[in-house]
């Protein structure tokens, strides 16, 4: 990887360093949720609805309960009586979300009853014996049909299938459209897919009767998890202990099993035994928290003869599936970068969330940004094609210039920093844009189809909650904090606590590198710890591409406090002011008198044991916590409909070269080049890995992955035989070139990279496929562009 303009001044961050967490994974010693076994543990299997929508007239569990080893059958009716409904991101008081279907099953595969037995095998046997009396009723699958006046209602109490329908207009959209010489409109479709971790959701709960504490081991990645459990069960939060040191086997936003957790938490208290629910793949894919955005974009753009885009109208209709948790808010994050990296001076946005009789949508990597980026990039390609200007040139003419930052977009977010033209230039040069065009044309000359794609996209990072009050004025959350507590023990080693789980992002490595950097201590001697929730700190969890920024900033802030305490101890003992002292690698000496030095070990010893040498009134021991609010957070949306969303904006540009088999429609990716600027990179291997993985997710979304439903509402993609995940054959080698434009808002200039790759790859692949189809006068605006879709298009079976 060419590393140009990297910052040279750091000791540990920005440098290659092995990832601490990896050691346990390569030796088979990870601690995943399914690895926690305990005596007397009971297992859950789910009875699922075979109907797309049905009233539940009754449940007869007699035969199931008679099977040896079966301990209990829990129904939605019992849960409804005994727990509080789960939270919704929107203000929807009449839409009750209960972990098991209550009175009505609303999608095929919905969990209707939970069977508890001594082994999972027995529980599965007993599932077959539970008799549910269903009365099938009308259902609706298509989101646009669901909005028609006579559509069957998914939640009749709500009175409509529309959960949210809001429009914002920023700037003089009508005037800009009227005055522009050109406009075009089109529809693009991002189909229901997600990032599908290899580990399903797993949770074990154990009610500790002695302590009266609910212990939870879960493969979780979700803000406010203990609080949500406590609310559902009417327990105080200090009676919930989530073991955040459980390794999570991939999440990418998805692992939000609050329903599963409430079920086993209720059961462990009821049955006085530890209870585990370990989703099998079908429970996971059809009934679990696994489906991502499912979105129709109606796009309009106004532009001039030079291809300068003046205004943009986006209408996004999103199929939230059956129960709206946080999913509809995924329409909100894209407001943070609603015009992409472009100087578009006005925009309107209509966001419609619709409920249908499908599995509920859940948060996925990028929180709605990847679909929006895809639609915007299709738009830019169409502008280029209509005017006969090269696609890279149209982008170059519209990209925000480096001297314009900070740059405020029409919807109110201020982009922190960037140098988009330089990244694109560097990428095109390193990729050999002209050579790739020649290679494409050579393939075409052989009578095959070939296309070169391009996308230039943003990754809003740092995460805040602005979309919550933006979509739901009753929610006035403006706090989105992260914390770190550093303890230096009596013998001088450093331990750092965070209050959250990890699912592959390397947070322990992040903590040790950042703290090592600030305190100038070897990171390999610093231990990062995922505290249990009872001992944990204010956190909003690793979502929104925020931990490099927020946990990194919290760790640096706590380390600075430790350093300040050490300097005060030294100043007291030298009887000198702090500004006369030099901190070097943990030792403190007197400026101009290098023989006067107090070592790290001595300073620590004083802090822990020699109170007579401590400054008067200071706290003994040595620890410091830093909790900080997300930069640019802390404010409600303005009354004019503008809002500052995420603080930091990373930039990525993609160039893939593909060929298409004209007989079969099979796409092959021949070359893949990517330019990436996420500011200062704290750990190069982690950022590379996340970006390559994001590209793989993006290629999957573009070409293969879809949760498919038939007209009767049956889910057809419940296994890896039907839901196609790209393997090492489909994912190409990626050549990545880096550029580093620091953020002025963060400790070291870092931005997020947790969603990188995924936010630009689908758009780039779509661009390449459409470039290949362009000589035929055809195009495709629906993802995924599967073999059969392309083949049907080539054979004239579809337009």
């Amino acid at each position: 990887m060419p590393d140009t303009n990297a910052s040279p001044e750091y000791r540990y961050i920005t440098k290659k360093r092995r990832v601490t967490e990896d050691r346990r994974f390569i030796t088979g010693r990870g601690n995943f949720a399914a690895d926690y076994n305990m005596p007397g543990m009971l297992h859950v299997a789910m009875v699922t609805s075979p109907y797309t929508c049905a009233e539940i007239k009754g449940i007869n569990a007699e035969a199931a309960l008679a099977l040896p080893g079966v301990r209990y059958v829990l129904t939605g009716a019992e849960l409804f009586e005994n727990i509080n409904p789960l939270l919704s991101g929107l203000d929807l008081p009449k839409v009750k979300r209960i972990p098991l279907a209550h009175e009505r099953a609303r999608y095929a595969g919905e969990w209707v009853a939970a069977v508890v037995a001594e082994t999972r095998h027995i529980a599965e046997d007993a599932v077959e014996l539970v008799e549910v009396d269903y009365n099938p009723i009308e259902f609706v699958i298509d989101p646009e049909e669901a909005m028609l006046p006579d559509a069957p209602l998914v939640h009749p109490q709500h009175g409509s299938n529309i959960l949210c329908d809001k429009t914002w207009v920023w700037g003089d959209v009508d005037d800009d459209f009227e005055s522009a010489p050109h406009s075009l409109a089109f529809r693009a479709r991002w189909s229901r897919c997600s990032t599908v971790p290899i580990e399903t959701f797993v949770v074990t709960a154990k009610w500790d009767e002695g302590k009266e504490v609910l212990d939870v081991w879960a493969s979780i990645q979700m803000p406010k998890y203990p609080e949500q459990i406590a609310r559902a069960l009417s327990l105080p939060v200090n009676a919930i202990n989530v073991h955040f040191d459980v390794d999570v086997g991939g999440s990418y936003g998805l692992k939000r099993g609050i329903r599963q957790t409430v079920i086993v938490s209720y059961l462990t208290r009821k049955l006085r035994a530890p209870v585990r629910f370990n989703e099998d793949r079908l429970e996971n894919m059809s009934g679990g928290e696994m489906h991502g955005p499912d979105r129709i974009f109606d796009m309009e753009v106004a532009f001039d003869d030079d291809g300068i885009m003046h205004s943009l109208k986006i209408k996004a209709t999103d199929d939230a599936g059956c129960y709206p948790g946080r999913a509809p808010l995924q329409l909100g994050k894209p407001v943070s970068a609603i015009v992409g990296p472009y100087r578009i001076k006005s925009a309107s946005y209509t966001a419609i969330s619709v409920t249908t009789n499908k599995t509920s949508q859940e948060a996925v990597r990028g929180f709605g940004q990847a679909p929006t980026n895809f639609a915007i990039e299709v738009m830019v390609d169409k502008v280029a094609r209509k005017l006969g200007i090269d696609r890279d040139e149209v982008r170059r003419r519209n990209l925000i210039r480096a001297d314009e930052f900070p740059y405020r977009i029409p919807s109110g977010s201020e982009y922190d920093s960037g140098d988009y033209h330089t990244v694109l230039d560097k990428l095109q040069e390193s990729a050999g844009w002209q050579e790739l065009l020649a290679k494409r044309d050579a393939i075409r000359a052989e009578g095959k189809l070939a296309g070169l794609g391009i996308s230039t996209c943003l990754e809003p990072s740092g995460g805040n909650s602005s979309f919550e009050p933006f979509f739901n004025p009753k929610n006035d959350t403006t706090t989105w904090m992260e914390s770190c507590l550093i303890k230096v023990d009596m013998l001088g080693s450093i331990t750092a606590l965070m209050g959250t789980s990890t699912s592959g992002q390397g947070h322990e490595t992040l903590l040790s590198a950042v703290i090592g950097e600030v305190l100038e201590r070897d990171p390999d001697t610093i231990r990062g710890v995922h505290a249990e929730s009872l001992g944990a700190l204010p956190s909003n969890s690793p979502v929104g591409s925020r931990m490099a920024i927020m946990l990194g900033g919290a760790a640096a802030g706590a380390a600075e406090k430790i350093k300040k305490q050490l300097l005060e101890i030294a100043a007291h003992n030298f009887q000198l002011p702090v500004d006369r002292l030099i901190y070097d690698g943990g030792d403190i000496s007197v400026d101009g008198d290098p023989d006067k030095v107090m070592s790290w070990n001595l300073l620590i010893d004083i802090a822990h044991r020699q109170y007579h040498k401590m400054p008067l009134g200071s706290e003994p021991g040595l620890q410091a916590q830093h909790t900080w609010e997300v930069p640019t957070g802390g404010a409600l949306p303005a009354e004019d409909g503008t809002v500052q969303m995420y603080p930091c904006y990373a930039f990525e540009a993609h160039i893939p070269l593909i060929s298409i088999d004209p007989e079969t429609g099979q796409v092959e990716i021949l070359d893949y080049h990517m330019g990436h600027d996420c500011g200062t990179v704290l750990n190069p291997d982690i950022v590379r890995g996340m970006t390559f993985g994001g590209i793989a997710h993006g290629i999957g979304a573009a070409l293969y992955e879809k949760f498919e439903y038939d007209e009767g509402g049956q889910h057809l993609s419940g296994s890896f035989m039907d839901y196609l995940l790209p393997s090492s054959h489909e994912i190409p080698h990626v050549e990545m070139i880096k550029h580093y434009t620091p953020s002025p808002l963060t400790t070291f200039g870092q931005k997020g990279s947790g969603e990188s790759g995924y936010l630009g790859a689908p758009a780039a692949i779509a661009s390449a496929v459409n470039d290949a189809l362009a000589p035929l006068g055809k195009s495709i605006e629906t993802l995924p562009m599967r073999v059969r879709d392309i083949e049907a298009l080539l054979n004239g079976q579809i337009e």
Partner: protein
């Protein structure tokens, strides 16, 4: 359901336990023998997370019943280390290249590439991609895994 006594060699040690006829090998390894390094991803033979080596060949332990492994020789990810806990060159290269993120598919990846290098100590990129073609990873996009195997092969060549 009748129980069967199963005795097999796991990572060079003879182990035994009881299993119903329907218990899969991966459940037996994890739940009966406590060898939790091997993971379960799909339980239908697609993802490869449960890969183990049986009699020198990689197999999907979710597609086999434990009784089918009675008397056989099994190696899991826990068996890759040396006797003193030293990392194998392949494990070390996975670490050096950060050939994982969440670590969930890693045991299967190590088993697949360990077997590859036993058979072909000098694989090219296409051969490496072929060898891991039946092991799904959702974190890495496979690139750093390929790099780790290339580094291992280079080291093994240098050592011989």
């Amino acid at each position: 359901m009748s129980e069967h006594k199963i005795t097999l060699t796991v990572n060079g040690r003879e182990m035994s336990g009881h299993a119903e006829a329907r218990l899969t090998l991966v459940d037996f390894l994890r739940d009966v023998l406590g060898q939790t390094g091997t993971h379960i991803g799909c339980e239908h033979g697609v993802c490869g997370a449960c890969s183990v080596v049986m009699d020198g060949k990689p197999v999907r332990s979710c597609l086999m019943f434990a009784v089918m492994a009675d008397g056989h020789d099994i190696m899991t990810v826990e068996g890759l280390e040396g006797p003193e806990g030293e990392l194998s060159p392949l494990q070390d290269a996975f670490w050096e290249n950060h050939a994982m993120q969440c670590g969930y598919c890693t045991p299967g990846m190590l088993i697949a590439t360990h077997t590859l290098l036993q058979e072909n100590p000098n694989p090219n990129e296409a051969e490496i991609r072929e060898a891991i073609g039946g092991n799904l990873c959702r974190c890495t996009g496979y690139q750093q895994i390929v790099e780790a195997v290339q580094m291992t092969a280079k080291k093994l060549r240098a050592a011989t």
